[in-house]
């Protein structure tokens, strides 16, 4: 059932941006429901950052329209005070400290200066608040960018590659932070190359390829659309070719990778495969239906791995 406009944090219709003859974004249509985490994925140059810039009023669309928090993107002043954003990496004044940089932005946005230290503590920069920005590592700069995005206590958070430069522990912290923000009611629209992270935290997904939206919807729906695989391991590895043969005769393609047979087929066909294998005298040691990961789906849909 379609959501009503007031239930949507972002809604774009035929959003288009041309640079000369080249379409950076072409007739994009997608919605992001309120209070969810929405992953925004696509290969480099697919139009993610351009789309985010249009949502933030930094560039004007060539066509189409959109709404953010119920307000048209043609009038960003109406909604930007409720939006936190970090676009194309963090950008701050090198000779100011992290805290002073945030104070500049807090003053500009009319936010409480008391928030600054709280947010620096929240992103793990509390003890480096007075260090100059130019002395920060890439990961620290990224954290400061996220703190800046959180300054307005936003209803909608738009983050472009927020985990760039972070170590695994930092990535997990940001993942937990985004999830907790979503639990508190903040809508998070986040682009990332780390598809495993996106898969873990996102409720919905918008996938771009060459400026066009090729999927927009729930993450689970996307994965369920993909051909699931049944992984089978026999007690005797010599039986695997025969198992593949049995699957093919039943209309299911398969291959052997290592000591495991990968057979394309729905979850419910696993029991049939088990029975067919048993009837042929093959004892299975493991039988597990799996969905392809978001990463596998991404490569298949975008052709990015080719």
């Amino acid at each position: 059932m379609p959501l009503e406009a007031r239930e949507l944090a972002i809604s774009v219709t035929d959003l288009t941006k041309h640079y000369g003859e080249r379409a950076a974004v072409s007739h994009a249509n997608f919605d992001v429901p309120m209070g969810t985490v929405c992953g925004f994925v696509g290969p480099n140059g697919s139009g993610k950052t351009t789309t985010m810039r249009m949502l933030l009023g930094l560039i004007s669309p060539s066509g189409g329209n959109g709404k953010v928090l119920g307000e048209p993107i043609s009038d960003p002043a109406k909604y930007l005070d409720r939006v936190g954003a970090m676009i194309e990496g963090p950008a701050f004044y090198p000779s100011l400290s992290g805290a002073e940089n945030l104070k500049v932005l807090a003053t500009l946005g009319g936010h409480s200066l008391d928030q600054v230290q709280v947010l620096l503590d929240r992103v793990g920069l509390g003890d480096r608040a007075k260090s100059k920005y130019k002395t920060y590592s890439l990961g620290m700069k990224q954290r400061l960018g996220i703190a800046a995005a959180l300054l307005p206590n936003p209803q909608l958070l738009i983050l472009d590659e927020p985990t760039n430069g972070l170590d695994p522990a930092g990535i997990q912290e940001i993942r937990d932070l985004l999830r907790s923000l979503a639990n508190e009611g903040t809508t998070v629209f986040v682009s990332s190359h780390l598809l495993a992270e996106i898969e873990m935290i996102s409720d919905s997904l918008v996938m771009l390829r060459q400026g066009e939206v090729i999927f927009a919807g729930k993450t689970q729906d996307l994965l369920l659309q993909q051909q699931p695989t049944i992984l089978a391991r026999s007690e005797d590895p010599k039986d695997l070719p025969r198992l593949i043969q049995i699957a093919r005769e039943a209309g299911h393609e398969g291959s052997i990778i290592g000591s495991v047979a990968h057979i394309l087929g729905p979850r419910e066909w696993a029991s049939t495969l088990n029975k067919l294998a048993f009837d042929s005298g093959i004892t299975l040691a493991q039988l597990s239906p799996v969905l392809p990961s978001l990463e596998e789906t991404f490569f298949e849909m975008t052709g990015a791995g080719e």
Partner: protein, 263 residues
């Protein structure tokens, strides 16, 4: 706009920039005023561009502000550099997008930044005036300049007029810097072109093309600071300067408002 003003002020008041600039203002004003009095008998001149400013001139009521108005060109160059770098660095650091996400009304953002930089310029002009007056009184004895007329209301009025004129001139130089910063989007390019034009191109044109000086923006800004000079009258200079600035502000404002922010 008030939030933009204070946000910009946070950047302008950082110690290296603020005290560094004010130290330069104090030093240069002190130097200009000292040369004016200590080289009063020099045949090579003691004023701007080798002018000879004698005792009789300095002993007049407006003699108190001659050192101050002579420093205006340097104050203008400082303003040009500060306004240009503070504007263009938003592009080179990529911080403009941060500002526009918080203040999407672009002309309001620009106006707030401009006013904040005007405050910076005002402080530098006040400081220069104080230093100039202090040095004038301190060195008048050594230069054998009688200062009786400096204590009259005419002297105070003259100083106030010079202060306003120097402030207008300095803000005009700053505005030129801001326009260049907005159009060129690089502090180094904006400052280089601005300084090269004011110090080199205008002087070459003035020396080679008759009457060209009275139509040059830098020359007219300097004329405004001195209240009129041999190049042009005060009112002519003010009109020409205003026309240049109005056109520049319109063009820069138009591009700033309409241009996509892609870095």
């Amino acid at each position: 706009m008030i939030r933009v003003f204070f946000a910009e002020w946070r950047k302008l008041r950082r110690p290296v920039l603020f005290f560094g600039t004010m130290f330069a203002v104090v030093g240069f004003t002190a130097l200009i005023t000292s040369l004016l009095f200590l080289m009063i008998d020099s045949t090579r001149g003691n004023g701007r561009e080798g002018q000879i400013i004698n005792r009789l001139t300095l002993e007049l009521p407006h003699g108190l502000s001659v050192g101050f108005s002579s420093a205006s060109g340097f104050l203008g160059l400082i303003a040009l550099c500060i306004f240009a770098s503070q504007t263009a660095q938003e592009y080179t650091h990529g911080t403009l997008r941060n500002l526009l996400v918080r203040q999407p009304r672009r002309l309001t953002l620009l106006a707030g930044k401009f006013l904040s930089m005007c405050l910076f310029a005002l402080i530098s002009v006040i400081l220069s005036a104080i230093v100039s007056v202090v040095f004038a009184f301190a060195l008048s004895g050594k230069a054998k300049v009688v200062t009786t007329a400096w204590s009259t209301s005419a002297a105070r009025s003259g100083l106030m007029h010079t202060f306003v004129n120097v402030l207008i001139s300095v803000i005009a130089f700053g505005t030129i810097g801001m326009i260049l910063g907005l159009l060129l989007r690089s502090p180094i390019t904006a400052i280089s072109i601005g300084v090269a034009w004011l110090l080199v191109v205008e002087n070459i044109l003035a020396a080679t093309v008759k009457h060209s000086a009275q139509w040059m923006p830098g020359s007219m800004a300097t004329t405004v600071a001195t209240g009129g000079d041999i190049n042009a009258s005060y009112s002519h200079a003010l009109w020409v300067l205003s026309a240049y600035l109005a056109v520049g502000v319109l063009i820069a404002g138009f591009f700033f408002r309409r241009r996509d922010v892609t870095n």
